[in-house]
C-alpha cells in the first residue's frame, strides 16, 4: 500500500518550486532590490558590487535612458535631461513641489501630475520611476536566473493616494507584478522585528532623502500591527542639503547661478552634510564656472542650528503619531532608525531625547527597508517555511472625505484606520427634480476642501427626478490592502440603480498604460500583445495551481455535481493554457472563475470558523 504523504504544517500539500519574488525600495536618492535566498534576506548588488542604485535617470536624444551611477555623473553637465529625486514629483502638480525655482527641469504642468520635457520627449514621473524599476528588475532577473512572480514595492507611509497610485503604475509599466505596496517603516519593522524577535511597542523613525515617516507598531506573536503613522512626504535629507546650499550662496554673496553651478553647489552641500556625520567641521571649496572660488567652513553647531526647524518638524509629527496611538514616549520599547538621513548626529540626539533612550541603529539604515520588503514578498509569494509566518495590519495615513456644502469636508474614513477598510455615506438631493450630483473626494486632515488634496471629482447622473431630499445616494469608499482607494455610488430608493466605479483622476487609465507599454516595447523590439498573452497565461496557471491546492485540501465541501463542474472548467482551461488564442483563454478563465465562486466563498467561511475554533491556519491546512 502506498504511504500517504503528509506535508509540514504551513507548507502546501503539493510542494512547489521556490517562487522568485523581490522587494524593491524605490527611494528618493537611492533604490535597492532584495530577495530571500536560502531563508536569508539579501540585497542584490549590481555587476560591480554596488548595492545602491542612485535614483537618477538621464535621457539621451535617441530615447535611451541611463540609470544609476553613469546618469548621476552627468548631473552637473546635463542637468535638464538628468532627473534626480523623481520621487518628489510622483502624483504631484508643479505647485506642490518645494523649491521648484531651484530645479533645472523644463516642467510641463499636465493635468494632475507634472511632467518634464527632455531631449527624449516629455516624461512623466511615472515613466521615469519605471525606468529605475526596470533597471532593478533586470538586475534581479540576471542575479536570480529566472522569471519573477512578483515584487513588493515600498512607499513612504505618509504617501497619499495619488502618490501610491503613481508608484503602482510605474511598477506595472516596468513589467512588474505588484504583490503589494508596502509602507517603508512597516517594511523596516518586519526586518527588525523578525531579526530580533522583538515584542512590544516600537517606533520606526524613517528619514529618507525626500520623505519622513514615523510609524508606531505593536509587535506580538507574529502580528505586526501599525497603531498610527505620521510624517511629511516632502521632508527629507534633500531639505537639509538645501539649507546648506542657501547658506553657501548667502555667505559667499553669490549672484543667481547657472544650472551647472547650481548642481555643483548642491553636490557640495550634500557632501558637507555627510562629512559632518563624522567630523566637527566641513570645508567647502568650490570652483564655479566663472572661475570664482567659494571657500567656506561649516561647523556642526552651525549646521545643527540652521536645520533645527526641520528636525523639530519630525519631532512634532512623532508626538502626533504617539497621541494618535494614545501612547506616551515612555511606553515605547525601542526606536528603530531608518534612512540614510538618520546618520546626522543632531537627529540621533533629538530622537534620543524625545524617547529618553538610545535609538536602535543595529541595522543598515540604507538597506533595512529593502530587506523587509523582500521578506514580505517571500511570504506573499507563498514561500514561507513551516512556523515562519506573520501577519501585517497596516493603516491609511490620511483621512478620506467628501466635499459638502460651502467647501467643507465631511470625513468618511479617519486616518489610522486599519486597512482594508470601507465606509458608506448617504447623500440626498438639494433641489426638486435634481437628476445629477457632483461628488468630490478629498484626502487630508483639514476641515476646508481648499487645503486638502483633491483625489477625484465625478458626476452621478440619471438620478430619477424626485422632491428635494427624497433620493438616497449611497457613496462607498473602499481602501484596499495597498492603501488604494476606489469609490462607488448608487441611488437606492428607486429600483433604478445608477452605479459607477471611479479610480481617482490622477491615476493612469488602462489604455494609457497600454499605450506607454507599446511605446516602450517599440524600443525593446518586443510586442505588447504578445506580452498581454503571456500575462494571461501566467494568470491562468496561477489560478489552476490555486484551485488544485484548494481541491486537495477542501474537496469534501463540494457536492458531486459541483465537483464535476469545476473539474470540467479546470480541464477546459488546462486545454488552452498554452495556446496563443487570447479569446479562448479569456473565456476558459472566466468559466473557471464562475464555477469556483461558491467553492471560494465556502472555503473562506470555513477558514473563519476554524480561526475562531482556536486552531491556527497552520494546523488546519494540514
Amino acid at each position: 500500500m502506498a504511504l500517504l504523504q503528509i506535508a509540514e504544517p504551513g507548507e502546501s500539500v503539493a510542494p512547489h518550486q521556490h517562487r522568485l519574488a523581490i522587494g524593491i525600495d524605490l527611494g528618493t536618492t537611492n533604490s535597492l532590490v532584495a530577495t530571500v535566498r536560502s531563508g536569508m534576506s539579501v540585497v542584490l548588488n549590481d555587476e560591480r558590487g554596488h548595492p545602491l542604485l542612485p535614483s537618477v535617470v538621464r535621457y539621451a536624444a535617441d530615447g535611451h535612458a541611463d540609470v544609476g551611477f553613469t546618469a548621476e555623473s552627468a548631473k552637473a553637465t546635463d542637468p535638464k535631461n538628468t532627473i534626480v529625486s523623481v520621487k518628489r514629483f510622483m502624483g504631484r502638480s508643479r505647485a506642490d513641489i518645494a523649491h521648484v525655482e531651484t530645479l533645472p527641469y523644463d516642467f510641463v504642468d499636465a493635468d494632475g501630475m507634472v511632467k518634464i520635457k527632455t531631449v527624449a520627449g516629455i516624461k512623466s514621473p511615472v515613466e521615469i520611476s519605471a525606468d529605475i524599476l526596470k533597471t532593478l528588475r533586470a538586475r534581479a532577473e540576471a542575479s536570480l536566473g529566472g522569471e519573477l512572480i512578483g515584487a513588493v514595492i515600498t512607499v513612504p507611509a505618509y504617501f497619499d493616494d495619488a502618490q501610491r497610485q503613481a508608484t503602482k503604475d510605474a511598477a506595472q509599466l516596468a513589467g512588474l507584478n505588484v504583490l503589494r505596496l508596502l509602507n517603508e517603516p512597516t517594511a523596516a519593522a518586519i526586518a527588525y522585528g523578525l531579526d530580533n524577535a522583538a515584542e512590544g511597542i516600537y517606533a520606526i523613525y524613517d528619514l529618507g532623502g525626500g520623505t519622513f515617516d514615523i510609524s508606531i507598531l505593536r509587535l506580538a506573536k507574529g502580528i505586526f500591527e501599525v497603531l498610527s503613522t505620521g510624517g511629511d512626504s516632502a521632508l527629507g535629507g534633500d531639505d537639509f542639503d538645501h539649507r546648506v546650499f542657501c547658506w553657501i550662496i548667502q555667505q559667499a554673496g553669490l549672484k543667481p547661478l547657472n544650472l551647472h553651478d547650481t548642481r555643483l553647489l548642491q553636490a557640495h552641500a550634500r557632501e558637507a552634510k555627510e562629512y559632518l556625520s563624522q567630523h566637527a567641521e566641513a570645508p567647502i571649496t568650490v570652483k564655479l564656472s566663472s572661475g570664482e572660488y567659494v571657500d567656506l567652513v561649516l561647523t556642526t553647531d552651525l549646521f545643527t542650528e540652521m536645520t533645527q526647524t526641520l528636525v523639530q518638524k519630525t519631532l512634532s509629527a512623532t508626538k502626533k503619531a504617539l497621541r494618535d496611538a494614545s501612547l506616551s514616549p515612555s511606553e515605547v520599547r525601542g526606536v528603530v532608525m531608518v534612512g540614510g538621513s538618520t546618520r546626522m548626529p543632531q537627529i540621533q540626539r533629538a530622537v534620543g531625547e524625545l524617547f529618553k533612550q538610545e535609538p536602535l541603529n543595529n541595522l543598515d539604515p540604507d538597506k533595512v527597508v529593502a530587506l523587509g520588503a523582500a521578506m514580505q514578498a517571500n511570504l506573499l509569494a507563498g514561500n514561507r517555511a513551516a512556523g515562519d509566518d506573520w501577519l501585517l495590519l497596516d493603516v491609511i495615513p490620511l483621512s478620506l472625505g467628501l466635499e459638502t456644502m460651502g467647501g467643507l469636508v465631511e470625513k468618511v474614513i479617519p486616518r489610522n484606520s486599519t486597512i482594508p477598510v470601507a465606509r458608506a455615506q448617504e447623500f440626498t438631493t438639494f433641489k426638486d427634480g435634481q437628476t445629477a450630483m457632483s461628488v468630490h473626494v478629498v484626502q487630508g486632515e483639514r476641515d476646508l476642501v481648499s487645503v486638502c488634496r483633491s483625489l477625484a471629482r465625478f458626476e452621478l447622473r440619471g438620478i430619477p427626478p424626485m422632491v428635494a431630499g427624497a433620493a438616497r445616494i449611497r457613496v462607498t469608499f473602499q481602501v484596499d490592502a495597498d492603501g488604494l482607494l476606489s469609490v462607488s455610488a448608487r441611488e437606492q430608493t428607486t429600483g433604478h440603480e445608477a452605479r459607477i466605479e471611479v479610480k481617482p483622476s490622477y491615476g493612469l487609465t488602462d489604455e494609457e498604460i497600454a499605450t506607454m507599454l507599446k511605446e516602450s516595447f517599440s524600443h525593446a523590439k518586443d510586442d505588447a500583445s504578445l506580452r498581454a498573452l503571456r500575462e494571461l497565461q501566467v494568470e491562468a496557471k496561477r489560478l489552476l495551481e490555486a484551485i488544485q491546492s484548494a481541491l486537495a485540501s477542501d474537496a469534501q465541501i463540494l457536492s458531486v455535481d459541483e465537483r464535476r463542474q469545476i473539474d470540467a472548467a479546470v480541464a477546459g482551461l488546462t486545454a488552452v493554457v498554452d495556446s496563443e488564442d487570447r479569446s479562448a483563454l479569456d473565456a476558459a478563465l472566466a468559466k473557471l472563475s464562475a464555477a469556483t465562486e461558491e467553492f471560494a466563498a465556502r472555503r473562506m467561511n470555513q477558514s473563519v470558523q476554524q480561526a475562531l475554533a482556536g486552531k491556527n491556519i497552520d494546523q488546519v491546512t494540514l
Binding site: L392, A481, I557, N616
Partner: protein
C-alpha cells in the same frame, strides 16, 4: 452525512458580537476581542490570498474589511454601546435627540473655554492636566455604561450617557489639537 450538513454557517452577515463569538454585553474582555480579531484577520486577510484567483481575492478583501469594521465598532465603548443598543432593539436616536442637561452643557462650555485660554497662552501644563482629567471622566462614563446596559437594562439612560461621552471625546480631541498646536 450530506454535503449540506458539512457546510459551515454563513457568517458574513452575522452581527459583530456573533462574528467574534462574544456575548452581547457592554462589558467586553478586550484581550479576548484583540485575540479573536487577530485570529480572524490571520484567516481572511488579503495577504493570505495574493496567489489565489480573483474571486478569492475579492472575498478576502470583503471579509477583512468586515472584520476590521466589526473590531472598530466593538472596541471603543461609545460605539459599542450604540451598536449594542440597536441590536437590543432600542433606538438611541443619537442624531435626532440633541437635548442635554443644562448643567452638563454649561460645564462643557467652561471646560472648552479653559482649553482655548490655555491654548492661546501656550500653557502646555494646563492642557496636559485638562487632558488627564478628561480621560478620567471618559473612563468613568465607560464603566457606568456597563452598569446601565448589562445590569440595569436602563437603555434610555445609557443612550443619554453615550451622548455625554461623545461630547467628552470631542473635547478630548480638541485638547489633543491644542497640545499639538502648543508643542509645535
Amino acid at each position: 452525512m450530506s454535503i449540506q450538513d458539512d457546510l459551515p454557517n454563513i457568517r458574513f452577515s452575522d452581527d459583530y458580537f456573533a462574528l467574534f463569538e462574544l456575548p452581547r454585553k457592554q462589558a467586553l474582555d478586550m484581550g479576548e476581542l484583540d485575540q479573536r480579531f487577530r485570529r480572524l484577520q490571520s484567516a481572511v486577510h488579503p495577504d493570505r490570498y495574493v496567489q489565489a484567483g480573483e474571486t478569492e481575492k475579492r472575498l478576502a478583501m470583503q471579509w477583512a474589511t468586515r472584520v476590521n469594521e466589526a473590531y472598530q465598532t466593538l472596541k471603543p465603548a461609545g460605539q459599542r454601546a450604540l451598536y449594542l443598543l440597536n441590536l437590543l432593539g432600542f433606538d438611541p436616536q443619537i442624531e435626532s435627540n440633541t437635548a442635554m442637561p443644562t448643567a452638563f452643557l454649561v460645564q462643557q462650555m467652561e471646560l472648552r473655554e479653559e482649553v482655548m485660554a490655555a491654548r492661546a497662552a501656550g500653557d502646555e501644563n494646563a492642557l496636559d492636566a485638562a487632558h488627564q482629567a478628561m480621560r478620567r471622566e471618559v473612563a468613568e462614563a465607560q464603566q457606568e455604561l456597563i452598569v446601565l446596559i448589562d445590569q440595569r437594562h436602563d437603555f434610555a439612560a445609557a443612550a443619554d450617557l453615550v451622548r455625554k461621552l461623545m461630547f467628552q471625546e470631542k473635547l478630548l480631541r480638541e485638547i489633543n489639537d491644542a497640545l499639538e498646536a502648543v508643542t509645535l
